[in-house]
Amino acid sequence: MTAFFRKKKKYWAVIVIAVSVFFWSLSEVMPRLAQQLDEKGYEEGRKKSLGITGTLTFEEQGKKKKVRLDPIRFPLTRQSHPLLDREKFSLKIIALLEVKKAGLYWIGSDSDDGSWIRIDNEQVLDNGGLHPRQEKTNLMDLRPGIHPLEIRFENRMGEAYLDVFWIGPEGVRSSLAMLPHPWGKESAFFRRLGYLSFKIAQYWTFLMLPVLLYPLLFPVRPSEEKRDLAD
């Protein structure tokens, strides 16, 4: 195998560098693209005065179904929407969080059963599990501007309840300042793709770059190389 790489040295070098550059660039470009989409979503949401929407997943007659839930109003209960009036379901909401003042914010959820909140692609709250109404909060340092927000909620049995809130630097508890994000799915996809590209680039570079530099730094005598190729 090493003989092959030595023989096709130039192609090999081009492939290693091209793959590295491609994935590093992707990891840089994708989050920026996602940010552009967030801003676009923010503008569109305001212009068209859209409501917060979510994707509801449930089982009906043994088949998994996904439907769009529009609009969503908190607190969310089984009575909030006819589609929610069932034992088992999960709901994913992608929106934008508008922060006006920088500072420490308590982000919280009150849910029956599990709920999870991600802000800026990072999980900030895990209120998961099978439980009655349970409130959990976590602290976050937020900067002014818009932040991608993802809320996951699941009901496994019995009553369902979800409310999300925050306590700002002034100490006032209020509902999360959520804005609709018509491009939320695409933005989340680009962010995930960016992260994946970063990981591929990291693994690829650490594995392949030393292998590429190796023959340059430690050249083998031509006679040895010839013998190796003949083998």
Binding site: M140, V211, F218
Partner: protein, 631 residues
């Protein structure tokens, strides 16, 4: 005739490294190339140390690990700080000196290339053992030692000679050379200290596993023996579940065992993940051993001096590991004497301790520790438990090591004297404050070397049966490895940080000066993790077991008493004097401090009168020591 002479070749690489330093995305790789590769590369080519390219690659990184801190240290001491320019200037002087002394001859080329296919294998093992594991489980300063070592790296990158990051009143006496290497990469690479520790694990893992392979090849000439030893050190040798199965307690590879903190590192892949923690201390004695084996085999003087040099530096990296090596070495000399093969230069190795004695003991004058480092002999019951544990964690390696000793004369000559004392100490010795890792870890490495040779010695049998035996060995050691990984993903790391610590640390990093000193309650892991671990700042007093080896207990008790008095009572004037004496710039009130104050009937709010609050969350408050507002 090559177009490039050796001089051109070096100058070109040097230029490339400098260019990389000027381009932000390439800054860290360029710093790694300049600090962690080029010095060793130039030296090994100058002295023609290796003919095989893979050995030369491992040797280049390994020798750079020894050389770079030494090369930068004089200038750093002279300027009182490790600045980027100081690092580059020191290394450039060395490179230019080496290049100047080099004859303008053709480029050095390498004759042998039998071991090159191992390079991707080594890289794969390291990448899956470090990056993949960390991506799946996460990493953070989750124990007192992690926090301390991170503190040392940060301190070395900002101050020279360094203060102890956990004792603002002490010069650093902990052997810090390997952390200086990380500090150089942190400073020149422009990457956070925490990220550097994660990344140097890759470098240390490469040297460590590469050296293990090289030693076996040097001793036996067998490639597969080396690969098996690398396997044993990467995946582990855990056999507990298999022994339980034989005992009729059920065949459960996910049998939940808790070998304890020190053992956990020594016995499993953790030694590789925490590559900056254990391997760096052992790399130097292993280098000394490798060169010494070569010297004894071929009698070349350069090998003797490289071995001696590595041995002399070893104590600066970690004296306990140096002592472990010297115990084995003494036994080796004893055996040579018995065989009437004694050579007088061998005794020179005992003089390798002199540089350490002259600098460390005479300059820093550490106090005699109150606790003995090792209590050599345990009671019968604990010895029984130790033997049972040792068998459980190494069962698969022990019979193979025994086979190596029976079938391989080289293993008996070279590795037995080093493995035996450490093995006996691991089983018979009783340790205090985690010092088992000093004995266990090197012992495990020598045992793995023997086991690697043993696999090849025993399994010289027909192919299908040999492969079956290989599968059985892997079948024993791989499932517990998977369990570790699965369990860690499920449960997370013990002592993981909470959100408030992370936010407070981020505030500390961005809003306080680099040389700030924080006052916390002594031995508070919560506060130390936040300030020293993530916040990268110094403490007035951290954890007593990091300091009691180098400072007398009376002094430490006095400081602890003063801090406790500061938080519990004392008038404002004495508090002011205390803060001035220990150069504290901030007071940290975390859960431990607040609980302590409340237990002593004090209200933390009373501090705010003289020390303004600059950060506050429900659990944490940071106060600034303001000279003007003090009484």
């Amino acid at each position: 005739m090559h177009l490039l002479t050796t001089r051109h070749h070096y100058l070109l690489w040097l230029l490339a490294a400098h260019l990389g330093l000027c381009i932000p995305p390439l800054r860290f790789p360029a710093a790694v190339f300049l600090i962690a590769f080029l010095p060793g590369y130039v030296i090994q080519e100058r002295f023609s140390l290796w003919k095989d390219p893979l050995f030369a690659a491992v040797g280049s990184v390994g020798l750079s690990f020894l050389l770079s801190p030494l090369l930068v240290l004089p200038a750093a001491l002279l300027f009182g700080k490790v600045k980027e320019a100081v690092i580059v200037f020191s290394l450039d002087i060395f490179f230019l000196g080496m290049i100047w002394g080099q004859a303008a001859k053709d480029r050095v080329t390498y004759g042998e290339k039998h071991h090159s296919p191992l390079l991707p294998f080594l890289l794969l093992m390291i990448i899956s053992g470090i990056f993949l594991y960390l991506d799946l489980t996460g990493l953070g300063p989750y124990s007192e030692d992690w926090i301390y070592f991170l503190g040392i790296v940060k301190e070395l990158s900002r101050n020279m000679p360094p203060q102890d990051p956990e004792a603002s009143f002490l010069l650093m006496k902990y052997p810090w050379v390997s952390y200086f290497y990380s500090a150089l990469l942190h400073r020149l690479g422009g990457v956070s200290a925490w990220k550097v520790l994660e990344l140097v694990s890759v470098l240390f893992g490469f040297i460590f596993l590469g050296l293990v392979y090289m030693i076996i090849v040097q001793v036996t000439g067998k490639r597969w023996a080396g690969i098996w030893a690398v396997f044993f050190l990467t995946i582990g040798r855990e056999t507990e579940w298999f022994i339980r199965g034989i005992q009729g307690l059920g065949w459960d590879p996910f049998y939940a065992f808790d070998p304890g903190w020190a053992e956990l590192q020594a016995f499993s892949v953790y030694s590789l993940i925490w590559g900056w923690y254990l391997p760096p201390n052992l790399i130097v004695p292993l280098l000394a051993l490798y060169f010494f084996i070569r010297y004894d085999q071929f009698g070349e003087k350069k090998d003797f001096w490289f071995s001696w040099g590595a041995c002399a530096l070893s104590c600066f990296f970690h004296p306990a590991y140096y002592l472990g090596f010297m115990i084995g070495y003494s036994l080796w000399i004893g055996l040579q004497l018995l065989q009437k093969r004694f050579r007088s230069p061998w005794l020179l190795f005992y003089a390798a301790f002199l540089p350490y004695f002259l600098t460390f003991f005479l300059l820093l004058q550490p106090k005699i520790p109150a606790d003995p480092l090792y209590l050599f002999w345990g009671d019968l019951k604990s010895i029984g438990i130790s033997i049972r544990n040792y068998l459980g964690h190494n069962g698969v390696a022990l019979p193979l090591a025994l086979a190596a000793l029976v079938f391989s004369r080289e293993a008996r000559t070279w590795l037995l004297p080093f493995a035996l004392p450490l093995l006996l100490l691991s089983v018979l010795g009783v340790s205090k404050v985690n010092h088992l890792s000093h004995v266990l870890f090197p012992g495990m490495v020598y045992l793995s070397l023997l086991a690697g040779i043993g696999v090849e010695a025993v399994l010289c049998i027909r192919r299908p049966i040999r492969y079956l035996a290989y599968a059985v060995i892997l079948g024993i050691i791989v499932p517990p490895f998977c369990f570790h990984l699965y369990d860690r993903i499920q449960t997370g790391w013990k002592g993981a940080l909470d959100q408030e610590q992370i936010i407070a640390a981020s505030f500390i990093r961005t809003h306080t000066a680099e040389d700030s000193t924080f006052l916390i309650l002594p031995n508070s892991r919560y506060s130390a993790a936040c300030i020293e671990g993530l916040g990268e700042r110094r403490l007035v007093f951290g954890w007593v077991f990091h300091l009691n080896r180098y400072e007398s207990v009376e002094v430490l008790q006095q400081v602890v008493g003063e801090i406790l008095s500061f938080f519990s009572h004392g008038d404002e004037q004495s508090k002011k004097e205390f803060l001035r004496k220990y150069k504290a710039t901030h007071i940290f009130l975390g859960p431990d401090e607040i609980r302590f104050m409340k237990d002593h009937g004090k209200d933390p709010a009373q501090f705010r009168r003289y020390y303004p609050s600059i950060f506050k969350t429900p659990q944490i408050e940071i106060l600034k020591v303001d000279e003007e507002r003090q009484p």
